[in-house]
Homo-oligomer: 413 residues x 2
């Protein structure tokens, strides 16, 4: 947790309603931080349907291995998340730590170890002392309460500068259901690595396969469309739980992701995921500006996404934004290096509503002063039209500042 | 040109011999800089065999288009290089500028426009006023001299902090030939974009197709194995010219790149290209340390290269190096995100001679103090063994410092 809150932080936090069927508790287990909560327990009253998407890293953390191995049966009774130690690249010790944690949580909740899901964030390569959980999980299970979302979001922060929460509601077959989510991002001062964790819970009654389909589709235009620094964590975890408590209001269970009754829920979920993802970008390490990059006219949506990410990950583009420099030449460079089809002489580029380049050269009407005014804003919209097809994509990133270098160049210990 | 020379600059410049068959001149045409040379003319006494490799950008500069279009006939009489303006993304004006420059140079040298090669470096998107060359190229052709390599290297600098020169000699069939090269890299204070330009000349008598084969092979483990910030210029150009003047000493022309007489030449050329490439890295924007990353045990050489580049381009790895932090967890992260096959539990990582991680966890003998001593050096060797196959690769990069952000975040104008 940083002393200084990101200038891009929300001015207020969402008022988070309870979700029937889930309770939470936090504790200070002393994993790494002193005098702050660092463990979160989520406990489900009855088995919740579960879906998850995880890091594509070939070197995933031990908790990611655990979640992947257990996701198949689709039911969750509990979730344990800790900050301060990622339990990644910890070998056999890491696996032993996840086993001990799952066993402790299963005993506390009276369920099977394979109904417990785990996530850890913090330093890589340090063995995680899971015995620290054993002493606290029993008490946490007893004291868990439903009205605890903001506290839960705080407990999973590492050096995020603000907790990330979001809530939405939707109707399924005339019954109102709620979706709550929390996330942590990348605002590191001392630890090793950005780790994105997010947990979303709904009281809707939706079967696990349908839930997984909704989540897999929803992650693409939200969390998979943001980048702070192009570095992919070993621990990225996004999970969605459905407690099914809305069945008490007469919501009949939805088994199929294509069920038309899910239209509103899908839209609300996608909107919540985007909300959380943008909160992560706005708390990117050292961030002072957010950049929304839209690519249109590419050969395909996939090509548009690749071009947009090439722009979003370019250090030269990101430092130009930090310097409030409408440096569209670097956008051209990033389009050119993406590897996707582009025709220099058809490119057009906008900052905000101002077209700065067209037909392969600077816009004849280009005004440095007007463009600079756009760059001086906090949110910078960039649009690139490739002029070849109908493919489009939008991604979000932040600027690259000296603070990013300071945060990540400071010595680890 | 920066006022402060990179701390990684060579302590002295190579003593550059003349190459028979080529003469050079520089001039101050006032493209962008005041009171410094910004145009280089290389003039060949007789048609030189020519080979070139260029940026893979889909948005290449007009001079790159010109060179690619003319490379087919394999002969060069002259080269014009300017700094201060990249003539990239300049539309029809850009093409007109290359045509005017080629025509002016062809008139000055009495040859065809398609025997003139062009390169430009500097700001993207600004029209290049090629009439500035027309007035100076005639005088430059008359005054060109053979003993001018260091001056030539200086004329093509943008904000490089030192000129980059290298020389080697080799024997072909008992005749000694010389290879000289110059390069410019990425040490930008105010302009828009890193642009890598390099020109290599030999007096050997080698046919263009053989020359191209040598160059295409030589560029892979040298210039294609360095990265400063992962951003690919629209203007990257590496050209190799053979004047054939060694024929006067009895060297018979080599037509085939596989001719065994080229063994020594090939080794000398490869060594010179690596020398120049490392000089470019050592003058990377804001660089204070050079990192040599060797990956062994990958599934293939290509996989090893991709993993090594994933490490070399990781902002988190590069900021850790800047902070003298032996943060091997970020190496694990970068291996994991590369997309190439890796087994977390077989990975081993070394900083210098110190193994910091093995069998998927921290080395039991890990010493923070000993590893920190390695990180405090100027050149940091990193080795990663993937433990899967025989693929290997070495790449070079520099650290990511606050100066990089300052250099590239400063306003363009």
């Amino acid at each position: 947790m940083s002393a200084t809150v990101s200038p891009l932080a929300p001015t207020s936090y969402a008022d988070m309603p309870s979700i029937r069927g889930v309770r939470m508790a936090t504790a200070a287990a002393g994993i790494k931080y002193k005098n702050r909560t660092d463990v979160l327990l989520m406990a489900f009253d009855r088995p919740a349907a579960v879906a998850g998407v995880f890091t594509k890293s070939k070197c995933p953390s031990a908790p990611v291995d655990h979640c992947r191995a257990n996701l198949g049966h689709g039911l969750a009774l509990g979730v344990v998340v800790n900050s301060g130690n990622a339990n990644a690249f910890t070998g056999v010790k890491g696996k032993a730590a996840t086993q001990l944690t799952a066993r402790s949580a299963a005993e506390a909740l009276g369920c099977g170890e394979n109904e417990i899901y785990l996530a850890s964030t913090g330093v890589i390569g340090e063995p995680l002392d899971a015995t620290k959980f054993a002493g606290v999980l029993g008490d946490m299970a007893k004291g868990a309460t439903g009205d605890f979302w903001l506290e839960a979001a705080k407990a999973i922060m590492t050096t995020d500068t603000y907790p990330k929460v979001a809530t939405r509601s939707a109707e399924i077959g005339g019954v109102t259901v709620t979706i709550n989510g929390i996330a942590k991002g990348a605002g590191m001062i001392a630890p090793d690595m950005a780790t994105m964790l997010s947990f979303v819970v709904t009281d809707a009654d939706i079967a696990a396969p349908a839930l997984q389909a909704l989540l897999s589709a929803g992650v693409e235009p939200s969390f998979n469309s943001i980048t702070v620094d192009s570095d992919t964590s070993t621990s990225d975890t996004l999970m969605l739980f459905a407690t099914g408590a809305a069945a008490a209001d007469g919501q009949t269970k939805v088994e199929d992701a294509n069920d038309p009754r899910l239209a509103g829920f899908r839209a609300a979920l996608d909107d919540l995921l985007k909300d959380l993802a943008l909160q992560v970008v706005r708390d990117g390490e050292g961030a002072r500006k957010m950049v929304e990059i839209t690519v249109t006219g590419a050969e395909s949506d996939l090509a548009a996404k690749k071009i947009a990410m090439s722009i979003a990950n370019s250090p030269l583009v990101k430092t130009a934004v930090a310097g409030e420099d409408a440096n569209w030449g670097r956008i051209v460079m990033a389009v050119g290096k993406s590897g996707e089809m582009a025709d220099r002489d058809r490119l057009a580029i906008w900052f905000g509503d101002i077209r700065v380049a067209v037909d392969g050269e600077r816009d004849p009407a280009y005004s440095e002063a007007a463009t600079t005014a756009v760059m001086q804003g906090q949110d910078i919209p960039v649009r690139v039209d490739i002029g070849l097809g109908a493919g489009k994509a939008t991604v979000w990133t932040c600027d690259l500042t000296k603070e990013y270098v300071a945060i990540n160049g400071d010595y680890r210990s």
